[in-house]
């Protein structure tokens, strides 16, 4: 490792799709500022480096680590601990690390159900019904692969996190602003926000940034946006019966999706005032549903066939209940099966 005196930068991906890395590269020429001000020491998607290189560094040797992805298996967890130990500032970067995101929706399924989908799916040819063995005694020695955990955990459920940077992925202009802030802080021209802060995002809701008009209108059914041929460009999407997650979602993107005639899906996670993302959305949706009779209301709710997927699309792993009992049940069966 060179010793050029520049602060060190790392970016690691755990259970994620790689979109966060692309969003970082999407800051365009700002990436040159990153290079000018930081020495990139570890970034598996962009450069060659080994885990042992990181292990060899002194503790807190890395000034800034952007950690994206959830904790799905033992390798992810070990890397979370390693990056925590080696970093001064550890940022939960992107929705997966902050709140679980799409991979966190797997917390609704048992591990066996996930394996069934992966190893026995219609597009999978697996006549012997093989499943991964986390340990395997091969003639050459014991082999092991990282254990697949029963639930996906967010980064802060495993290690202490300094900052949260939400978004799926975080918007590039927000990343650039954060990079700028850290550089300014390193030069003594700015102070970093208090630990635990959400950075690179607003505090309010997407509705606050959305130019659409809200009336007090109630709806008789929810409609998936792709089933509509005409969308009023000026009227609130929720009031047009399109399940829009804007009311609970943190601002910071500039209401990109609603401005493009698409519903907010909630990737920036809970706003400052929403404690549980889904609960806040239930409140918002309840106020637009028409009906005073249970049967009437149930009929409207029938048009929302996947409520957890709607209300917790990006936040299930960090929600208050996190679909825990199902996990518990599965683990008991799993334990019985193993012994």
């Amino acid at each position: 490792m060179s010793m050029n005196g520049k602060p060190k930068f790392a970016m690691y991906w755990a259970a994620s799709c790689g979109g966060c890395e692309i969003a970082v590269l999407n800051i365009h020429e700002k990436i040159l500022d990153v290079d000018a001000n930081f020495e990139v020491v570890f970034w598996p998607v962009a450069m060659d480096a080994k885990y042992k290189d990181v292990e060899a560094m002194p503790d807190e040797a890395i000034t800034l680590t952007l950690f994206n992805g959830g904790i799905r298996n033992a390798e992810n967890e070990a890397m979370a601990h390693l990056m925590r130990r080696k970093s001064k500032i550890l940022v939960a970067f992107g929705s997966c690390a902050c709140a679980g995101c799409i991979p966190g929706l797997a917390n609704l399924s048992t591990r066996e159900q996930i394996f069934e989908a992966v190893y026995d799916g219609v597009s999978t040819d697996n006549p012997m019904g093989l499943r991964p063995d986390f340990q395997w005694a091969a003639p050459e020695g014991n082999l092991h692969i990282p254990e697949f955990y029963p639930v996906l955990k967010t980064l802060d459920q495993v290690v202490a996190v300094d900052y949260y940077m939400p978004g799926c992925p975080p918007e590039s202009h927000q990343i650039a602003a954060v990079v700028d802030l850290v550089i300014q802080a390193l030069q003594g021209n700015a102070t970093l926000p208090p630990t635990g802060s959400v950075i690179g995002a607003g505090t309010s809701t997407v509705c606050d940034e959305c130019p659409r008009v809200r009336n007090v209108k109630t709806i008789q059914q929810f409609t998936r946006i792709q089933h509509l041929t005409e969308i009023d460009p000026n009227l609130c999407l929720l009031e047009q019966g399109i399940p829009c997650n804007g009311p609970a979602t943190r601002s910071g993107c500039g209401a990109l999706c609603p401005r493009a005639n698409a519903q907010c899906i909630g990737c920036y996670g809970s706003s400052d005032s929403a404690f549980d993302f889904g609960a806040r959305l239930m409140t918002a949706f309840a106020s637009v549903i028409e009906g005073k009779e249970p049967a009437e209301i149930e009929r409207v709710l029938d048009t929302l066939p996947d409520p957890v997927g709607q209300f917790y699309r990006f936040s299930l792993a960090h929600s208050l209940l996190r679909a825990a009992p199902l996990v518990l049940e599965e683990e008991e069966q799993y334990a019985t099966h193993q012994h």
């Binding site: 209940l321 996190r322 825990a324 199902l326």
Partner: protein, 158 residues
């Protein structure tokens, strides 16, 4: 199931009806089990679904939501919002693998102390039959590898 299990139920009551119904039950010496902890709201419409989820996540075995009869809301029609939230919550809990019977909605006017006491008694028995609600999470594969989880509750306030 454990015979000594005493369910903990959080009950949200409306200032204008069910809280007074509970008060009336007390004045009239109508008995109901002490398993319920009543919290007074100004209106059942104040009930944010967060309260229900947080009660369950913090160790309650069930949540009772009470309000004025339809058409009798002190604030005109907020109790209809409660009804919609309640029906939505039931669906969400079901999808999460949690028994929807753990939450219950009861309309009780200020005169219905006896009815409220009966509903509370029924619910305690129902939850007793369901057993304790234990959101044990996360479940590490190896119990010796228990990971300290920072409670969500410490990250902000409702």
């Amino acid at each position: 199931m454990n015979d000594t299990f005493e369910p903990v139920i959080i009950g949200f009551t409306c200032n204008w009806c069910s809280y007074r119904a509970a008060d009336l039950a007390g004045t009239a010496r109508v008995k109901y089990p002490p398993n319920i902890r009543l919290i007074r709201l100004m209106c059942s419409g104040r009930l944010d679904p967060t309260f229900v989820l947080k009660a369950l996540a913090s160790g309650a075995d069930g949540v009772l939501i009470t309000g004025c009869h339809p058409g009798e809301c002190h604030y005109l029609e907020q109790n209809y919002k409660t009804l919609r939230r309640y029906l939505m919550l039931r669906r969400v809990l079901t999808q999460m693998g949690i028994e929807p019977e753990r939450i219950k909605l009861v309309w009780a006017s200020a005169a219905e102390g006896v009815k409220l006491a009966q509903e509370i008694t029924d619910m305690v028995e129902q939850i007793r039959a369901l057993g304790p609600f234990k959101p044990r999470y996360p479940m590490p594969l190896n119990p010796s590898e228990v990971v300290e989880v920072q409670p969500v509750a410490e990250r902000g306030t409702v």
